[in-house]
Amino acid sequence: MTQPTTQSGSGLVPTVGQTVGPFFHDALPWPGDRHLVAPGDAGAVRLAGRVLDGEGAPVPDALVELWQAGADGRPATAPGSLRRDGHTFTGFGRCATDEEGWWSFTTLPPVTPRGGAVAYVSLAVFARGLLDRLLTRAYLPGTPVDGTSGDGVLDGVAADRRATLVMAADDPGYRFDVRLQGEGETVFLCWPRDPRAGGR
């Protein structure tokens, strides 16, 4: 039963996700996980926000991952996220939420990925009570939400929901709340080869 099963036409049937549960804190975080650059670095910004549930209450047992392009707009290809050397930008970070649902990264200012039209970062969200991970994007403050940004993902989202994908300026950086449900529910994304694109 555990051998990969063929799905007619499109390769193997993917393994499905399960909740990260409540007990990931000893395993998934690591020292320096949220500091893609050292907090004191010139040019470092803070990218922070809260994870909130359908009643607006903080989610204190969520985990947020950040994936962003290097300063040159290319996807980072350097290893070493788990043993940071203090100068290599790996593009990847991880932060468990605190009791108030806050997560926070110290990183470079988001740039426009090569071939793209506007600057954004990619986020993955996990939580107890969330049966599978969610992916979303956080665009720079000021990115047009009138459908003229030139970014196919943002412009393709229903007009009244685009703003959920745009960060707020919050010196010395940016604020981005993830609302799992309800008023201002964050837009979560899927890609063509992902069976999650089906209903559920």
Binding site: T2, P22, E55, P75, G156, L180, G199
Partner: protein, 258 residues
């Protein structure tokens, strides 16, 4: 852990699970709600999902952008000893020593090479070292229950560990999680990112578990259960289990350069 509503019985949970099951009489091809191939997020038998599932459909994005690449890990990130959860400076953990191994493949059957695999689990008594685990089973001073490895050139991963015990939780009265190991995996694209759980064959708790049953399709559920593999067992040392993991299909061909 949850328990916002008055605790209900396993029988009530069983009824809810049955009422939400894919209609088995409708035949294998019917999946009108598109539930196959994914875990449902809106699944009330797992009570904590109620306020934590999105109500809107996922927004389909074109296959371009940053998510077509993935973080890169190497032996700089992970030491070889991290794949053996039974190594502890002060002594050996209690329990049934096992090895869990398998391959990580992408949706086209290509091995996922040199990528990070992370695991965490309860000890043999069903207790996590996590400070919020209040299950009154003993902690094992020689077992932390966490490991990491990198897949090899053929996509293989391997962990030596202790078989985890089932543990109680507060979803409903007398709720017990089937024995499981949590897995976290990366592919070659961030869209392939997955966290899941591996279960053990023949576990009587599987039909009763609202986390496992949140997966609508029986085949999808079965694929989270490892196989006992006698060829992996070692005389007078450990029991072997095999479990392969398939990530979603990659959008970028491997030869494409950044």
């Amino acid at each position: 852990m949850t328990g916002t509503s008055p605790a209900c019985s396993q029988a009530q949970i069983d009824d809810e699970i049955a009422s939400l099951a894919l209609d088995s009489t409708a035949g294998e091809d019917r999946d009108p709600a598109g539930l196959r191939g994914a875990t449902r997020l809106d699944y009330a038998p797992y009570r904590s999902t109620v306020l934590r599932h999105p109500t809107k459909a996922l927004h389909p994005a074109d296959p371009e952008g940053l998510e077509m690449w993935s973080p890169v890990f190497s032996h700089r990130d992970v030491a070889a000893v991290e794949s053996d959860l039974t190594i502890h400076p002060q002594g050996e953990p209690i329990g049934e020593r096992i090895r869990v191994t398998g391959r990580v493949l992408d949706g086209d059957g290509r091995p996922v090479r040199g990528q990070l695999v992370e695991v965490w689990q309860a000890n043999a008594g069903g207790r996590y070292i996590h400070q919020r685990d209040q299950h009154p089973a003993p902690l094992d001073p020689h077992f932390t229950g966490m490991g990491r490895c990198l897949t090899d050139e053929a996509g293989h991963y391997s962990f030596t560990t202790i078989k985890p015990g089932p543990y109680p939780w507060r979803n409903h009265l007398n709720a017990w999680r089937p024995a499981h190991i949590h897995f976290s995996l990366f592919g070659t694209e961030f869209v392939q990112r997955i966290v899941t759980q591996m279960y053990f064959p023949g576990d009587p708790l599987l039909p009763l578990d609202p986390i496992y049953q949140g997966i609508a399709d029986r085949g999808d559920r079965d694929r989270l259960v490892a196989s006992y593999a006698h060829d992996l067992s070692e005389p007078e040392f450990l029991m072997g289990y095999r479990w392969d993991i398939v990530l979603t299909g990659a959008h970028r061909t491997p030869a494409e350069e950044t």
